[in-house]
C-alpha cells in the first residue's frame, strides 16, 4: 500500500511554536479581514489575489520554519512474532531414555524429531499471520533462517545455556528495525540452564515475567540416565607441606546402583591416591582424600571418577584445581654444647624470623659444674629431654642444628643413627664446629657419618689461629655463598678473619651424596661443605666463628644486610628448599582462568645477594601441563614463547590474550646463561588452569531441568510440554490484544523547505503582495 505523509524536520520549542503559529494565523486572519472589507478602487479579484498571496507566503514561511518534507511510503501488514528458542548447549547431546532398558536418545535428536512432527503446527502459525522467528541459544542466541531454520540446525556443543540472556536479547530487540510485536515464546530445552535455580525468586523467572509474553516450554530430557558425574569439589587454594590437607569430591550417580569403579587423585598428572567407589542407590556420595604434600610449590591436582561402561558422558568425570603448597612455620631444633657468641648470633638470627618456630636446648652446665654447685641454689635449668627431642619429635623438625655439641656426653650418641635416617628421609641437618662435636669426634655413628660430606667420626681438634677462608668455584655459583663473589669480597680482605677451625677431611663417600665444598681453609681443608644425601640436605661448618661476620668494626654491608645474615639466610633457604632461595620467580595473576580471559605472567630476577637484577634475559614459554620435558626428544607443543629483559626492579611481564583452550598448562621461565655466568639452572615454573565459565555438564539429570521449565511456563502463562510425548501446539499461548501490525517496506522523503521552490514561493508571494498593494494604493 502506497501513502504519503507530511513530516516536520524541526519543531521549535513550545514558545517558539506558539509564536510561529500565532504569527502565521494573524497574518492570514488580517488578510482575510482585508479581503472581506470593501475598499474603494480595489476590486474583489484584487482583494482575493492579495489574500491568496498572503496565505501562500505564510504557508511557505511555515514550510521553511518547520523544515517540512513529504514522505512517500510503501507499507504492508505484519502479524505478531512468535519466537522459538532452541537450546544448543552441550547437555543437549546427552542421551537418556524414558525407562531402564529402553534405547537412550540424545536430547537434541528428540527436539529435532519434535520439530519434524510439528510441521503442520508451524504451517498453522503462518496461516494465523504469526511471524515465526527461530533462534538457537547457548552462551548467546543466534537467529536461524532458511534451511537451518527448517531443519532446526543445532550442534549441541555450546559451553553454556544462558536462557536468561536469550530472553534479555529478545526484550532488547529494536522495534524500529522490526516492528512486529512479540506475542509469545516457545523454549525447546532440557532446562539445565546456566544460572542457579533459586526457586520462586529465580532471576530467570523474573526476566521471563518482564518479557510480558507467555512462554511455552518443551522438556527435551528423559528420566532414565546412566552417568557418574563429579558435581562439586571442595579444596583449599593453599596447603602446607607435611600438613594433612583434605580434598573432597561430591559424585552424583544415575542408573548405576552398585557399580564399582575408583576415584583417582592426581598431582601434575601423576596418581597420588585412589579410593574405591561404589555408586550409591541414593545417587549422591562424597569421596575424600587426605594428603600431606611432600614439597612446596604450585601443583595441578585432579580428581577423576574412572568411567563406567555406558555412561552418557565422561566429560563430567573429572575436575582439576590448583593448590599452592606453602611451608608452614619452619620448625628448627638448635642444640648447643655451650653458650658462646656463635650460638648467640645464630639464635638471634633465627629468633628474628616470625616464620621460624625455634626450639633451643643449650647445655649451660656440665656434670662437674653441677658437682660444685650449692644444691640449694634455685636454678632455672631443666633436664635435657633427649628422648623427646631425638626419638619422639625428631621427624617434626624441618631443621636440626648441632652447634658445637658434644653428643656423647649427653646421652645423644644412641640417637645419632636416627638423625642420619632423619636426613635420608628428607630432613635438613647443620653441624657447626667449635671445641666440641667435630673437635672431639662426638658423632661416631656410621648412619650419621654416611650422610655428612666430611669425616665426622675422627676428632679434629680445634685451631684458633686467625685465617681468611677461600671461596671455591662451587662457592661462587652456589646460592649460599655466591653473594661473596658478586659483591667483590671473594678475597676476604674486607671481611673479618675467623679464629676457630676444625681441620676436617672430606668423607670418602662425599661424591656419592652430591657434596660440594663452598668455602675452604687456606691450608685447603673444607670449611663449609654441603651435601644432598637421600631426600635431605646437610651443611657442615667447620668453624665456630662465623659470628664475626656480623660483628666487626669495618663490617661491609651488602645490599643492606650483614655478611653473617646473608650467609645464614642463604644456608637456611637452601637447606629447606625454600622458593625464596630461587633467584628467578614466576607468577601468574590467577591460578584459574575462564576461557578467553587474559593471562598475565610476571617474572622477577634477583642477584646472588637477592637484590633485584635489571637487564636479565629470561626465556619463557607456555605449554600444556605434562608436555615432554625440554631436551627429552618428545614432542613439545609450545603455545606461546618469547624472551624478556628485566627492568630496573628486576621485573618482566607478559599478557596472553586468550587463545588457550580448556585444560591445564604450565608457564616456564628460564634465565638465559650469559658468557660470564656459569650455566646455573635457574628455572621457575607455574601451573594454571583454563576452564569454561559454567559447569554445563556438571549436573545432567533431566529432572531438575524439567521442574524449572514447568515453573517457567506456569509463571508466564505458557504451556509445559514434553518432547517425546507432545507436539508443538497449533495455537500456542500468545499475548492477548495483538492484532496485525503494519510494516513500512520502503520510504522516500522529498524535502519541501529546502528546495528552491519554497524560497521562490516565499519571495513571489510576499513580494507580489507588496507590489500589488502599492499598485492599488493600499498601505
Amino acid at each position: 500500500m502506497e501513502r504519503w505523509r507530511l513530516i516536520a524536520g524541526h519543531v521549535p520549542g513550545p514558545v517558539g511554536l506558539v509564536l510561529v503559529l500565532a504569527a502565521a494565523a494573524l497574518a492570514i486572519a488580517e488578510a482575510a479581514r482585508a479581503y472581506r472589507r470593501p475598499v474603494p478602487g480595489v476590486s474583489r479579484a484584487t482583494r482575493a489575489g492579495l489574500f491568496a498571496l498572503r496565505c501562500v507566503g505564510a504557508l511557505a514561511l511555515l514550510a521553511v520554519a518547520f523544515e517540512l518534507s513529504l514522505a512517500f511510503e510503501t507499507t504492508s501488514k505484519a502479524g505478531p512474532r512468535l519466537v522459538v528458542l532452541a537450546d544448543d548447549s552441550a547437555s543437549m547431546a546427552i542421551a537418556d531414555a524414558a525407562a531402564p532398558g529402553q534405547k537412550a536418545i540424545p536430547r537434541v535428536d528428540r527436539i529435532r524429531a519434535l520439530w519434524r512432527r510439528s510441521e503442520g503446527a508451524r504451517a498453522a502459525w503462518r496461516e494465523q499471520g504469526l511471524a515465526v522467528q527461530v533462534r538457537r541459544f547457548g552462551e548467546r542466541s543466534e537467529a536461524l533462517s532458511g534451511p537451518a531454520e527448517d531443519a532446526l540446525s543445532l550442534d549441541a556443543r555450546a559451553g553454556a545455556s544462558d536462557l536468561q540472556r536469550a530472553l534479555a536479547e529478545l526484550a532488547a530487540d529494536d522495534p524500529s528495525a522490526d516492528p512486529r510485536p512479540l506475542a509469545g515464546v516457545i523454549v525447546l530445552s532440557d532446562g539445565l540452564f546456566d544460572r542457579t535455580d533459586r526457586g520462586a525468586s529465580d532471576p530467570l523467572l523474573v526476566a521471563a515475567r518482564d518479557l510480558g509474553v507467555p512462554i511455552t516450554t518443551v522438556a527435551a530430557g528423559a528420566p532414565h540416565l546412566v552417568d557418574l558425574a563429579l558435581t562439586d569439589l571442595r579444596a583449599g587454594e593453599f596447603a602446607f607441606v607435611e600438613n594433612v590437607a583434605e580434598f573432597a569430591a561430591d559424585i552424583e550417580a544415575h542408573g548405576l546402583p552398585g557399580a564399582r569403579t575408583e576415584v583417582v587423585l592426581r598431582r601434575d598428572g601423576q596418581v597420588v591416591a585412589t579410593e574405591p567407589f561404589t555408586a550409591p542407590v541414593s545417587g549422591h556420595a562424597t569421596v575424600r582424600f587426605e594428603v600431606a604434600p611432600d614439597r612446596i610449590g604450585q601443583f595441578v591436582y585432579e580428581i577423576e571418577v574412572r568411567p563406567v561402561d555406558g555412561e552418557a558422558t565422561t566429560a563430567n568425570n573429572r575436575r582439576a584445581f590448583v593448590v599452592k603448597v606453602l611451608r608452614d612455620k619452619v620448625r628448627a631444633l638448635h642444640v648447643a654444647g655451650r653458650p658462646d657468641w656463635d650460638v648467640r648470633a645464630l639464635r638471634t638470627l633465627l629468633g628474628r624470623d616470625p616464620n621460624v618456630e625455634l626450639l633451643s636446648y643449650y647445655i649451660l652446665r656440665g656434670a662437674d659444674d653441677a658437682d660444685r654447685e650449692d644444691p640449694s641454689a634455685p636454678l632455672s635449668l631443666i633436664a635435657f629431654p633427649t628422648d623427646e627431642l631425638f626419638k619422639e619429635q625428631l621427624g617434626s623438625f624441618d631443621l636440626v642444628i648441632l652447634h658445637n655439641f658434644d653428643a656423647l656426653n649427653h646421652q645423644v650418641g644412641r640417637y645419632l643413627a636416627d638423625i642420619g635416617q632423619y636426613v635420608q628421609d628428607g630432613g635438613a641437618l647443620v653441624v657447626i664446629g667449635g671445641d666440641m662435636g667435630l673437635a672431639t669426634g662426638d658423632y661416631p655413628a656410621p648412619p650419621l657419618a654416611a650422610v655428612v660430606p666430611v669425616d665426622i667420626r675422627a676428632p679434629t681438634g680445634l685451631e684458633t689461629d686467625p685465617f681468611r677462608p677461600a671461596l671455591t668455584d662451587a662457592g661462587r655459583r652456589h646460592p649460599i655463598t655466591a653473594w661473596i663473589d658478586s659483591s667483590g669480597l671473594s678475597d676476604w680482605s674486607a671481611l673479618p678473619q675467623l679464629d676457630s677451625y676444625n681441620p676436617v677431611k672430606l668423607a670418602r663417600h662425599e661424591a656419592a651424596i652430591g657434596s660440594a665444598v663452598l668455602l675452604k681453609h687456606p691450608k685447603g681443608g673444607p670449611l663449609l661443605a654441603i651435601a644432598e644425601p637421600g631426600r635431605g640436605r646437610v651443611l657442615v661448618l667447620a668453624t665456630g666463628a662465623t659470628w664475626r661476620l656480623g660483628f666487626s668494626a669495618d663490617l661491609p654491608i651488602v645490599d643492606g644486610a650483614r655478611p653473617y645474615d646473608l650467609l645464614w639466610l642463604g644456608a637456611i633457604r637452601w637447606l629447606l628448599r625454600d622458593a625464596a632461595a630461587d633467584r628467578l620467580t614466576l607468577e601468574t595473576d590467577k591460578p584459574t582462568y575462564l576461557l578467553g580471559a587474559p593471562i598475565t605472567l610476571r617474572a622477577t630476577a634477583l642477584s646472588p645477594s637477592y637484590a633485584p637484577e635489571a637487564d636479565v634475559a629470561i626465556d619463557w614459554r607456555v605449554q600444556p601441563l605434562g608436555a615432554a620435558p625440554e631436551g627429552s626428544g618428545g614432542p613439545v607443543t609450545l603455545l606461546s614463547q618469547g624472551t624478556w629483559s628485566t627492568d630496573a626492579l628486576g621485573r618482566a611481564s607478559e599478557v596472553l590474550r586468550g587463545g588457550l583452550s580448556v585444560g591445564a598448562y604450565e608457564a616456564v621461565a628460564q634465565r638465559v646463561a650469559g658468557a660470564d655466568q656459569p650455566a646455573a639452572a635457574q628455572q621457575a615454573r607455574r601451573v594454571f588452569l583454563v576452564q569454561e565459565a559454567g559447569r554445563e555438564l556438571g549436573r545432567i539429570a533431566a529432572g531438575p531441568g524439567d521442574e524449572r521449565l514447568k515453573r517457567l511456563a506456569e509463571a508466564t502463562g505458557g504451556r509445559s510440554l514434553r518432547a517425546e510425548a507432545d507436539d508443538l501446539p497449533a495455537d500456542p499461548p500468545l499475548k492477548p490484544g495483538h492484532g496485525p501490525g503494519e510494516r513500512v517496506d520502503s520510504r522516500r522523503d522529498v524535502p519541501v523547505w529546502s528546495g528552491g521552490l519554497a524560497m521562490l514561493l516565499l519571495v513571489l508571494s510576499l513580494g507580489g503582495e507588496a507590489l500589488l498593494r502599492r499598485r492599488v494604493g493600499l498601505p
Partner: protein, 267 residues
C-alpha cells in the same frame, strides 16, 4: 727353656705396653657400637672474653672484678671465659673483638670522645651489649646521670627504663629476685631494651664491688647488709648477666617456661 720363658715374658710385656699406649678415649666399635656415651674432653676450648672499657677517669674502681667473674663462670657454668679478661678503649678495633663490654665507674663517666662514642653506638647496633656498673652503690647519682646522657647520644631516642622483675635476665641461669651487689640500695636494674634485647644494662648496686678480690684472694669489699649471702646472690646475678649476654632470651622459650612452671621452680 729359659730363653722361651724370657720370650714369653717379653711378649707379655710388649702386649701390656701396647695396651698402655692405647688412646684414652674409646674408638668406635671397640667398646659398644658407637663408643657409648663416654665423657670427652676438648683439647682446646672456645673461650669468651669479658672486656672492660678503659677511659680517662675512674674506669677501674673494682680491679679484678671481671677476672673473678670469669672464674665463677668457669666453675658454675659451661661458659669458658678467658682467665684474664681484656681491657679495651673506645677507639681500638679490639672493642669489636667481643659483643660484650663491661663499663665501671664511680662518681661520674667523663665524655669518651666522638670517635669512641660513635664506635660504641655501632657496637650496640651490630648486636653488642654493654653493662654499666656504678661503684657508688647508690650513694652518688653522677655515674648514672652520665651513663644516661651517653646512651642518649649513642642511641638517640632510647631510654633507660626499669627492667621488669619477670625479665629473662632474672632466670637466665639462677632464679634471682633482687640484683644485689656490694649494696642493696636498688631492687632493680635499668636497661635499654630495643629490637627484642637488652642493649645496655645499668647496675647500681656496685656489682663489681661484690666480686672483686684483693691480691691475697680475700674479697675486697664487704657486702651490706646481707654479708656473704648477699655476695653469693651478687655472683648469681652476675652469672645471669653473662648467660643472658650469650643466650639472650633462651630461658623465655615456651618449652622452658612450661617446664619450669610444671615443676614449680619459677613463680
Amino acid at each position: 727353656m729359659t730363653s722361651t720363658r724370657r720370650r714369653l715374658l717379653a711378649g707379655a710385656a710388649g702386649l701390656c705396653a701396647a695396651a698402655a699406649l692405647r688412646p684414652a678415649r674409646a674408638q668406635p666399635g671397640l667398646f659398644g657400637p658407637f663408643g657409648d656415651d663416654e665423657f670427652r674432653e676438648p683439647t682446646a676450648v672456645l673461650t669468651v672474653d669479658l672486656p672492660q672499657l678503659q677511659y680517662a677517669g675512674k674506669w677501674n674502681p673494682r680491679p679484678g672484678a671481671m677476672r673473678e667473674l670469669a672464674v665463677e663462670l668457669r666453675l658454675r657454668t659451661r661458659l669458658e671465659p678467658v682467665r684474664e679478661p681484656s681491657v679495651v678503649t673506645g677507639e681500638s678495633p679490639a672493642l669489636f673483638g667481643t659483643p660484650f663490654l663491661y663499663v665501671a665507674g664511680e662518681g661520674g663517666l667523663p665524655p669518651l670522645g666522638a670517635k669512641a662514642e660513635a664506635a660504641l653506638g655501632r657496637f650496640l647496633d651490630l648486636g653488642g651489649m654493654i653493662v654499666f656498673d656504678a661503684a657508688d652503690g647508690g650513694a652518688d647519682l653522677g655515674f648514672e646521670r652520665d651513663v644516661a646522657a651517653l646512651l642518649g647520644r649513642i642511641l638517640p631516642g632510647a631510654a633507660l627504663t626499669r627492667v621488669a622483675a619477670d625479665h629473662v635476665l632474672y632466670r637466665s641461669f639462677y632464679l634471682v629476685e633482687t640484683p644485689f651487689g656490694r649494696t642493696a640500695a636498688h631492687d632493680h636494674v635499668l636497661g635499654v631494651q630495643e629490637e627484642g634485647r637488652l642493649k645496655a644494662l645499668l647496675v647500681r648496686n656496685d656489682l663489681g664491688g661484690a666480686l672483686a678480690r684483693d691480691e691475697g684472694g680475700l674479697f675486697t669489699h664487704p657486702c651490706t647488709p646481707g654479708g656473704a649471702t648477699q655476695r653469693e646472690w651478687a655472683f648469681r646475678f652476675a652469672v645471669n648477666i653473662l648467660l643472658y649476654a650469650t643466650c639472650t632470651d633462651y630461658k623465655a622459650d615456651r618449652a622452658h617456661v612450661e617446664t619450669l612452671l610444671r615443676h614449680r621452680r619459677w613463680r
